[in-house]
Symmetry: none
Subunit: 230 residues, 4 copies
DNA sequence: GATGAATGAGGCTTCATTCAT
DNA sequence: AATGAATGAAGCCTCATTCAT
């Protein structure tokens, strides 16, 4: 997202052509470039040289703005998490009926991952390193608790209407919503090989979305409580 | 697994003490060491030096048995997929009632990931590289179609008994079964930060298993078909 | 010294607060900052960034006043040598009896080095570079010949009074006077290690001064000439 | 010295021509090359690339033998101090009459510095860094206490014979013996400029030796004690 | 077969200096 | 005059791989 991404004009990053000496902008250009590089190669596979090349500036500039590759990685992570969160906040769940709200949330979340495949690689990298960067980042800790709360309210409304089950752990639910899409998108290549099925196209993506939406809703719907709890 | 891991004698890996010149064994020791190294650091983060150190042998030996780091990585991947598959095959699904069979499959699969966290890192690494190694590996392509078939049979039995829904895409289902656990286990660190919840302990692991089991079963159970299609 | 250091008001260096556009003053502030930086790190270890930081001004200013790091180093050297010389000149040797004059000179010189440890590092740095900067500096060549002359006069008086030996090479003598203190002060750290003795405190400094004073005076005193020349 | 330097054959360092794969020798070659580079440029001015070039080997080799530039510097320091000490030990002071012994010690020490100008630069560098490397080196701490003892014995003999003064601090004395030569040799370039005298040739070196020998002996000789205290 | 010394390309970072503003 | 962003050469160090022994 790089903070003000797409704000105002549809302006675009890259070498900051035309404008010169705009530190604010330069910083964003660097984060954008780093995001691409880290996304394509992971943390260890990323090269500071290539990040510099992507910015169209010299390598030294990176270090004028960020103290190290690590520091830059943190900035990229903060940026992309910020972006995901603001995407989430753009979705006003309380305008929907409970089931429709869930459907929206699932689709919205999934589409974010489809549109921003960088997120997956960056987050995988960070988990490989046991979240050592995120833990240092004040801006990220607790970042998703607001979303938890809003989801919680949605579920409550559904429960009050008698259409949603009781005993829903919102965090577990959200992890499932994310995980069902994330895992598929992240592991399409190996999954495609072991099942000998083409999972890379848009068709496969839509099939997945439909499947996972059903699964989540079947879990939430109240009917099963009749069968006795599980 | 390293192919014949723990098969035959209860012999154990490492420097192959006592025995000399057992090429077969040496090869396994190397794969074992490489597996650990790749698992802790990912492909790019792994160091051939450290792999050598872990084996207790010299670096030249690695290159005697494997032509490159890439080659070694392929061997490790083949080994661990082989292992997962044989774990799967140890689970004889047709001995179970349909629902119990699903429960077993979910738990079995999940526990494999819990016990072999290497799998996750290795597979993530391979997906970062778009499965370039796996695609070269004859032994892996189609590796999971047998499992698909067996799962399919289990579902069919459930459908015949009227307890499972119709219209189940077995591959999608299996991806969900795996993904619900894998995603959680792989991303525990960042999830823990953004939700400010401790997800690392065994308690959290069990909660997860229970949640995902419910979700999958709720999806499979027939009741919902009454509500009209989803 | 920075030329007019502490001259006139008791004003002090640093960011030149309050006053604006005082090029003369700015120049001095820079030299002062550079002196500290070079003194702490030697020529190669010094950083232009840190010099700028010490001045509280931007790096561009340095290059406005001095054309290069080298140029700045020359300015610092000239400044500190100027300072040493004016310290020397403050000592009016002809007001003393010969022996007392020597004692004063030794103590005065030594105390200068004690109080200005920068001198030692700067001069060592310059010798490492074979005095390439000094040789370009017109203001420094011959700088100490006045002192030689005054020392020479003092010795002559002593010789006339029959208390000092004949055949004294004044330059050699001055080098000894300086060297006996300089070497100790410059190499306290390694000497302390190899002799396992603490040489860093003020106690050790005073012991040294006394020892070297005795040595120089014993050399100058006439008595030995009785023993036959050496 | 590089440990076995000049031992056995008159073999010489450099690229280890002819011989291949002789780690022991390679290590010495590296230390030799590093010694030259550090001696010519000081610690900060030295370049690892140039050290590698001097060895005739690739840069990676340095790091196969030493973990860092720092580590290499320590090795060089240890080597040269070892060398100085063994030079010292080659001088059997108790074979000389007291005064002759002192003369020998002075000349011996001075000539070592003349022949090994590296020593001066290395030690100056180390003092700039406050002996941080030496303090970590077990082999150097206390290295000169044996010499102190031997010098002490020589002085005692002189005192017993009534030709040397009492109250001699051996460490101070030794620092003077070293310092009178070291300071001159180290600072010839700047001294030459400020006194406008050529101090670089062999002539100047010999004049210096003579002057400093006189000075030290005049200090040690007993006569002055008649004059009362100093 | 086995060792580990040696290679050399390339990784991350620094730094004196320049230059647009 | 002054700022500090930008440059690019170079600095220290790493690492997969090769090769003499």
């Amino acid at each position: 997202m790089v903070a003000t991404r797409n704000r105002g004009s549809g302006s675009e990053a890259k070498p900051a052509e035309g404008r010169k000496r705009d530190p604010e902008r330069t910083r964003l250009v660097i984060i954008e470039a780093a995001r691409e590089e880290f996304a394509e190669n992971g943390y260890d596979g990323a090269r500071t040289d290539r990040i510099a090349t992507r910015t169209g500036m010299s390598k030294g500039v990176l270090y004028h703005y960020f103290s190290s590759k690590d520091d830059l990685f943190v900035a990229v992570l903060e940026d992309i998490y910020q972006e995901l969160r603001s995407q989430n906040e753009a979705l006003v769940l309380d305008e929907f009926e409970p089931e429709a709200g869930i459907r929206e949330l699932i689709a919205h979340t999934y589409r974010y991952f489809v549109d921003h495949p960088e997120f997956i690689v960056l987050v995988n990298s960070e988990n490989l390193m046991k979240a050592q960067h995120l833990e240092q980042s004040a801006s990220i800790r607790n970042m998703f608790t607001p979303l938890s709360r809003r989801l919680s309210e949605l579920i409550s409304r559904g429960q009050e209407q008698g259409i949603f089950r009781s005993n829903v752990d919102v965090v577990e639910l959200y992890i499932s919503i994310v995980g069902l899409g994330y895992f598929f998108l992240a592991n399409r290549w190996t999954l495609g090989v072991v099942f000998n099925r083409d999972l890379l196209g848009q068709g496969a993506e839509e099939v997945r979305l439909q499947h996972m939406t059903e699964m989540v809703l079947d879990y939430l719907r109240n009917v099963k409580s009749l069968d006795g709890k599980e």
